[in-house]
Symmetry: C2
Subunit: 181 residues, 2 copies
């Protein structure tokens, strides 16, 4: 919750500005409106010789669980660049041939998760700072009982189905808050 104006340090009011229809953090002193918007989490299904790269998380939330390399998109980068950067940071892995694969809205935490499908260059990977381990899994080895997040499960499930069919489509869904993640 925003309490003070980031421009003049005055206390903000939570009001609906003229011409708007939502509560915003409004500064009565300098007039600045501080908007809050959903964050994009971008990740990658990196494939090498029919295996998929997963990372075991070294940090909370879901420490010890397996996930696709993914993280918050940063200002000044494209979605594909963000997916490649996160894959490098979390799994020391270089990916190319990135194509968008799945979009998962998680409105109760104001996040949008976007997964690309890409090729893992030379099959090389190693744990980055936020990973305990990285490993290439064949489809039947994927540890579906210990995946970190529901959006990761969704992307992997769709990926495996598409792979069986021999055609990769683009998938979209919305997660409701009945489970954590």
């Amino acid at each position: 919750m925003i309490r003070f104006c980031c421009q003049c340090a005055g206390p903000v009011r939570h009001e609906i500005p003229p011409g708007d229809n939502r509560l915003r953090a409004l500064c009565p002193n300098c007039g600045h409106i501080q908007y809050e918007n959903p964050r994009l989490v971008v990740g990658c299904i990196a494939e090498y010789e029919e295996h998929i790269l997963l990372c075991r998380r070294a940090i909370e939330p879901r420490k010890g669980f397996w996930t696709l390399p993914a993280g918050f998109m940063e200002n000044g980068e494209s979605t594909a660049a963000a997916a490649a950067r996160e894959t490098f940071e979390e799994a020391c892995a270089v990916v190319d041939q990135l194509r968008p694969f799945a979009l998962v809205s998680v409105p109760h935490i104001s996040q949008v998760h976007l997964f690309f499908h890409g090729h893992l260059s030379e099959g090389r990977h190693a744990p980055g700072e936020e990973s305990q381990a990285t490993r290439l899994f064949s489809p039947c080895e994927i540890p579906s009982q210990v995946l970190a997040f529901r959006s990761v499960r969704y992307a992997l499930e769709r990926y495996l189905v598409d792979r069986e069919c021999g055609h990769f489509a683009f998938h979209e869904t919305e997660l409701t808050p009945q489970f954590s993640g």
Copy 2:
């Protein structure tokens, strides 16, 4: 640029926090880190009887130019819900059967534009507060010389090509800063 902490009103420092690799607005007083991330702009290609709904903008930027209904995604909603809401706000139009169609990264302004393709219910539309006019255009009528934004042009171009082919794919691109928009 963030100058003061939104939690305690203290002056922030722009430093790289431990374990991070980017400059953040860090509060030395209370320890709060204020992250800034790209914003999602979500819109809709709303179709009715082979016509497409466009809005003539009543506000800057690009006042008077034609655009697809689109706007900033809000906290607590899905991408599809955001596309439907923007279409209703800007064109008083109800859409259904929404499917993701195009993703456009605009890194130099830290935005990601996401367009859905949907069906305009009963063909009804009217200008919302931010539109001077709304109109259904046949493909050959689309005012391509007076479109408001390059991402809108990209989405419409891909849409028209896909329609010719009889198959709607999902498209992705990145815009570089050589032109405005």
